[in-house]
């Protein structure tokens, strides 16, 4: 059942607005399982999200402090710190207002706070132009740009540490640098599959090891004494929701997200798909969607390309790219 068949989202403790069910079933769920926590504004049932007063205060309080830091960051022209602040704002949003996040936002938030602290912390006492995170981010840029190996990177870091004054806070090796940067990333999922494209070992099938019809194992036969199971193929899936949310985290891109509505359209002249008939038609038949100009219109592009130059035609990869 989905919402076109007349189902509604079940706000019970177990379903958490994820399943569409019939009214009677939902009544049963609510009686037996109870109402889900923190569902104060019924945004999945037609109520528009209006932050209540306490929330507004919290948001204003947190963002004003963040924007202060942000301005300070602009003054120092430190792009890496801005990046952290942008990332941190998301975690703040998660902690204070977002009730549908499934991960534990507190540990995330703690990590982001750590990163922010790191960013503000000078590399050593009395150092004015280098923060800890700035150096770390530069290491991350230099390494792939010049194709350094991890060992050579470790050596350079070690050497730099020996030059710097005592008590400096440079990370000891590349591994530590990497683990410091990881919380900033958005992550991806790896989904196993057999090379015949029959099925994905995903969601309810994630625990299966054999194909349902043909009985193929999704893992390669073990060779030697190794214990790890290796799948034939791994699909990399980059979830889109956090990426779209990230676009609204940065002041610059957040403004661009509503450009399609705010730009001056001249009658009879098309400069953007939003002036086209398809876009207007879509908005007119989905008024709920078009009411919020920040809702995102996406395009999807696929195409195979050869990884190893044009001669290795035997191996091609298929990226699926979304465009806003």
């Amino acid at each position: 059942m989905n919402f076109t068949d007349g189902g509604i989202r079940c706000p019970c403790r177990k379903c958490k607005n994820k399943r569409f069910l019939h009214q009677d079933v939902i009544t049963m769920h609510l009686l037996t399982k109870g109402f889900m926590e923190d569902y104060l504004c019924w945004y999945a049932h037609g109520e528009l999200f209006v932050p209540n007063e306490s929330m507004v205060e919290r948001v204003v309080g947190s963002t004003s402090s963040a924007s202060n830091v942000h301005e300070a960051g602009n003054d120092n022209s430190n792009p890496y710190r801005n990046m952290v602040i942008d990332a941190m704002r998301m975690s703040e949003g998660n902690v204070s207002e977002c009730p549908i996040v499934e991960e534990e936002p507190n540990t995330d938030a703690a990590r982001f706070f750590d990163l922010l602290k790191d960013s503000d912390e000078p590399l050593w006492d009395d150092c004015t132009n280098h923060s800890k995170l700035l150096v770390v981010a530069q290491v991350f840029t230099i390494k792939p740009d010049h194709g350094l190996s991890e060992a050579s990177c470790d050596k350079i870091i070690e050497w730099a540490r020996s030059i710097l004054p005592k008590g400096n806070k440079l990370k000891e090796n590349f591994y530590a640098v990497k683990s410091m940067m990881k919380p900033l990333g958005l992550g991806y999922q790896k989904i196993d599959m057999y090379h015949n494209f029959y099925m994905l070992y995903y969601l309810e099938n994630a625990k299966l090891t054999e194909c349902m019809t043909y009985g193929h194992s999704c893992y390669k036969p073990r060779t030697g004494r190794g214990k790890t199971l290796v799948a034939y193929k791994k699909l990399r899936y980059f979830p889109i929701t956090p990426r779209l949310q990230r676009l609204f985290m940065s002041p610059r891109s957040a403004e661009h997200m509503t450009w399609h509505q705010s730009h001056d359209a001249v009658d009879g002249v098309m400069v953007h798909p939003s002036d086209g008939e398809a876009w207007k038609h879509f908005n007119s038949i989905n008024p709920h969607f078009s009411a919020e100009s920040r809702n995102v219109h996406l395009g999807l592009c696929t195409g195979g390309f050869n990884l190893f130059g044009s001669f290795a035609a035997l191996y091609s990869c298929w990226p699926v790219i979304l465009t806003v």
């Binding site: 002041p251 400069v271 798909p273 809702n295 996406l298 395009g299």
Partner: protein
């Protein structure tokens, strides 16, 4: 623009791409029906963000994988669908869309009654095939059942495939509740179409060996459909001679074109250095990228063949060059688009009078539908594959 999925494979997923798209579609469904709570930094408050997929952008073979209408064979065109009158050439063995375009002309157009220059003795009375809307397509697609995915099941076909329809599957995108109401679901990629049309024209006019569409088999087919005695093969005892066609440049004219290309200089950032790709000794162009084809098609074709080709042929080639230039402009006047549509049909009819049937593969037919897409979807800059192909390079790195 961001990467959403990476499908590894030694081989192309083919129609099984639906299996891989499953997580993405699930997430899109969720983003459509309930959305995600997002913090907007520019307005400093939270809102529920929802997202909708407007359309897909693919090159022609992938179009078939994504839409479920196979883009191979005689029914390749996803707009004309089964009303297509393409046929397989007797000698060439390929599908040809030749003698098909006169039906798109207005009812009393003079070309419709022309018995001499088009298909021998045929007056065109048919009208253009209807274009199905999303709802109608959805109904058609629903009639075909589910298929079992997987490379083993590749031979499983719906009955009548290739004869009455070209459906290979019910595309996963129909699961999106708003998909059938979209006016434009799948975009034809102008970049690849332009490149293919350019290559066909250039290789045929310059007579590049092995690549020209005007080969021996084309001349054999020509005798079946046209009344052009001066182009048919001449048997002289045991030798067979292929007389030079009017649209093919003479040897010294070809050399002139290559020498001119060798001396070309472009403004910075306009195109790659095309003169570097020219080999005047072998009369060949090496390593033309899609963008070089784009520049060549839009600006160089009228200049390159001026005074070298007969007037009528040069006119037709210039018209198709101007058509692509108009359609690719970043500011489009809505009133002009209707004119593009009538013009391109007339231009393709002119090409039909010039080139042999084997020239008209699906890529020469598709431009007929481009003005419709431009009218509905807006400028092509947002709907073609240049930015994505560039991103592919970074992904590959």
């Amino acid at each position: 623009m961001f990467l959403s999925m990476f499908i590894p494979s030694p081989s192309s997923p083919g129609r099984n791409i639906d299996v891989c798209l499953r997580p993405l579609i699930d997430e899109l469904m969720h983003m459509w029906s309930s959305g995600a709570l997002t913090y907007d930094i520019s307005r400093k408050h939270n809102f529920v963000m929802r997202a909708a997929l407007m359309w897909t952008i693919n090159n022609f073979p992938t179009y078939g994988m994504v839409s479920g209408w196979s883009t191979h064979g005689k029914l390749a065109c996803p707009y004309c669908m089964e009303n297509n009158k393409a046929f397989t050439l007797t000698n060439g063995g390929k599908a040809s869309f030749f003698y098909y375009h006169r039906r798109f002309l207005p009812p009393n157009h003079r070309y419709r009654k022309n018995r001499k220059d088009f298909f021998v003795g045929r007056v065109e009375k048919d009208v253009a095939p209807p274009c199905l809307s999303g709802e109608e397509l959805h109904d058609v697609v629903l009639e075909y059942g589910d298929i079992v995915f997987g490379l083993q099941s590749g031979k499983q076909k719906f009955s009548g495939f290739g004869l009455t329809h070209n459906w290979v599957k019910r595309s996963i995108f129909w699961e999106l509740p708003y998909w059938k109401t979209n006016l434009l679901c799948y975009n034809l990629d102008v970049m690849h179409i332009e490149k293919n049309v350019f290559e066909n024209i250039f290789n045929t006019v310059i007579d590049v060996k092995g690549k020209t569409k005007d080969n021996i088999k084309a001349r054999l087919d020509l005798a079946l459909f046209y009344n052009r005695k001066n182009m048919e093969l001449v048997c002289d005892g045991s030798r067979v001679a292929k007389p030079r066609a009017s649209f093919v440049l003479e040897k010294n004219a070809q050399l002139l074109v290559y020498k001119w290309l060798k001396s070309l200089r472009f403004p910075d950032g306009h195109a790659s250095n095309i003169s570097r790709l020219v080999n005047t000794e072998e009369c060949k162009l090496y390593g033309m990228k899609s963008h070089d084809c784009h520049v060549f098609m839009q600006t160089l074709i009228p200049l390159a063949f001026h005074d070298l080709l007969p007037k009528g042929i040069w006119d037709a080639l210039t018209e198709i060059s101007f058509f692509f230039r108009d359609i690719c402009s970043n500011k489009l006047n809505v009133d002009h688009i209707e004119r593009f549509e009538t013009n391109i049909i007339e231009t393709i009819c002119k090409l039909e009078m010039i080139f042999p049937p084997s020239f008209f593969n699906s890529m020469e037919h598709i431009p007929v539908h481009l003005p419709f897409e431009v009218n509905v979807g807006g400028p092509v800059q947002y709907r073609w594959m240049y930015p994505f192909e560039r991103l592919d390079i970074t992904v590959a790195m």
